[in-house]
Amino acid sequence: MRIDLNLPSLAVTVVTAAAAQGQWPVTDWLPAKIPFLTAVGLYYALTKPWPVAVTALVWAGALTDALGGLPLFCTLSYLLAVYWAVRVMQRVFLDATLSRGMLLVAGAAAGQTLWMRLWAGSYEPLLAWQTLAALGASAQAGLLAGFVVFALCGRMDRLSGMIRPVKENDGILWAETDC
C-alpha cells in the first residue's frame, strides 16, 4: 500500500506556519503579521488536487481564526472564495512558479486584511490612510510569505517526489501531474 505523504506534509507545514505567524512580531518597518498560513493554503490550492487543496485551506483558515481571535469561518470563507478564483485563473495563466505565487499571496493577504477588518467592525473608512497603509503592509508581508512558502514547500515536494518538476505544457498543469 502506498502511503500518501501529503497528509503528514500538510499537518507539519500548517502547524509550523501557524507557529511562525504567531511568533512573528509586528514591527514599525513591517506593521503586519506575515500570512504564512494563507501562503500555505494557496500553495496547496495551486499544486494539489482539489480534496487536498480544500483540506489545506480549511485547516489554514481554521488555525488563522482560532489563533487570531476571529470567528471560525471568517478566514476560511475568504480562502475558499480565493480558491475558487485561483481555479478560474489557473485555466488562463496562473501556475505555481515562485514569482506568481508571491504576487498571488500578496494580493490575497491584502484582501484578507480588508475582510478581517470588516468582520472585526473596523472604525476606519475604507479609503482612509490607515486602511490603505494596512493593505500595503499586508501586501508586503504577503510577498515575503509567498517567497518563503513557495520556495520551501516547492523544494520539499520535489525532494519527496510529490510533484514532478514538469513545466506547463499543452495545458497540463502541475496540479494534474500530482502523483
Binding site: V15, V26, D28, K33, T55, A66, W129, A133, A134
Partner: protein
C-alpha cells in the same frame, strides 16, 4: 482513487469539527502550536539572552559601576520602604482592611503577541488551566496592570490587553488635596484616532487610553496616577493603570474625559504575573 476518498473524508471530518466543536477546535489549535511557541520562548530565554549579553559585553564594566551606585541608593530607599510598609500594615490593621489573601501570584512567560492576525491587542501566555488560570484573572507586572485573561486552554491563556479597543476597566484618580473626594471613571482601551487628527499614521501604534465619565468640575493635573477602583469586581483596588496626559470635557458636556498613557510598555513584556484566585478544589 482510494486516497482521493480518504481526503474527501478528512475534509468532511474537518468541516464537521469546525461546525460542531467550535471551542474544542480553538483549544486544539492552541495546544498544537504550544510546543513551537514554548520552544521559541525557551530559545529566547537561553540562547537569545546570551547572544544579547555578548553583544553588550563591552559596556558592562561602566554599567556595573552605575549599577553599584544604584544598589547603594536603592538600599537607602528600601530601608525607607520598610519603615513605610510597617506603617501601612499598622494603619491597615486599624482600618480592618482585608489583605488579598485569597489570591496568589502566578508568573507566566509571554509566548506570542497579537495572535496570528494582530487584529486585537492580545498576548498568549504559557500558563493555562493546568496551572489554575481561569477566565477573568487579572494580569499584571510590577509597573502596573496589563489586562485580563479571556480564554484558557490546558497550557496557554489568552490575555486581552487594557489597550484593546474592547477593554473597559473601572478606575479612580489618585488625587491629593482636601475636599476633592474620590474621582472615578471607566477606562476605555485605545481605538480609532479622532477625526480631528488626520494624516498618515503608522498602524498598531498604541493609542492612549481614555478615562471617561469623570466629574466635569474636576480637572486632573497631568501625570496624575490612575489606578483600578475595584468596583468592576474583576481587578483588585489600587493597581496602577497609567498616568493622565490631559483632560477635556466630553462632547455632550456632561462629564470629563482624560487621556491616559498606560504605565506598562506592552511591547516589551517577556514575563507577567497572573493574579489567580485561590480555589479549594484547585489547590
Amino acid at each position: 482513487m482510494k486516497q482521493s476518498k480518504m481526503w474527501v473524508w478528512l475534509l468532511v471530518l474537518s468541516l464537521g469539527a469546525l461546525l460542531f466543536l467550535n471551542g474544542a477546535v480553538r483549544d486544539f489549535a492552541r495546544e498544537a502550536v504550544y510546543p513551537f511557541d514554548n520552544a521559541c520562548a525557551w530559545f529566547d530565554r537561553t540562547v537569545g539572552v546570551r547572544a544579547r549579553a555578548l553583544r553588550v559585553r563591552a559596556g558592562l564594566a561602566a554599567r556595573n559601576a552605575t549599577l553599584e551606585r544604584d544598589v547603594a541608593r536603592l538600599r537607602v530607599v528600601a530601608a525607607e520602604a520598610e519603615s513605610l510598609e510597617a506603617e501601612v500594615c499598622r494603619l491597615r490593621a486599624l482600618l480592618d482592611f482585608p489583605p488579598p489573601a485569597s489570591c496568589r501570584w502566578l508568573a507566566a512567560p509571554v509566548l506570542a503577541r497579537g495572535g496570528t492576525t494582530a487584529v486585537w491587542q492580545s498576548l498568549r501566555l504559557g500558563k493555562g488551566s493546568l496551572h489554575g488560570v481561569r477566565k477573568g484573572d487579572p494580569v499584571l507586572v510590577p509597573e502596573g496592570l496589563v489586562g485580563r485573561v479571556t480564554d484558557v486552554s490546558r497550557h496557554t491563556s489568552e490575555v486581552m490587553l487594557i489597550t484593546d479597543p474592547n477593554s473597559r476597566v473601572a478606575c479612580e484618580l489618585e488625587v491629593a488635596g482636601e475636599g476633592v473626594g474620590v474621582v472615578r471613571g471607566i477606562l476605555f482601551g485605545g481605538g480609532a484616532r479622532p477625526a480631528s487628527e488626520p494624516g498618515l499614521t503608522l498602524l498598531y501604534v498604541v493609542d492612549p487610553l481614555r478615562l471617561r465619565f469623570l466629574a466635569r468640575e474636576f480637572e486632573p493635573a497631568p501625570r496624575t496616577r490612575v489606578a483600578t477602583s475595584g468596583l468592576g469586581q474583576t481587578f483588585p483596588k489600587g493597581i496602577t493603570v497609567g498616568y493622565v496626559l490631559e483632560s477635556r470635557l466630553e462632547p455632550n458636556g456632561l462629564a470629563r474625559e482624560a487621556v491616559v498613557m498606560p504605565a506598562v510598555d506592552m511591547a516589551s513584556l517577556h514575563e507577567v504575573f497572573i493574579l489567580s484566585a485561590r480555589r479549594a478544589h484547585a489547590d
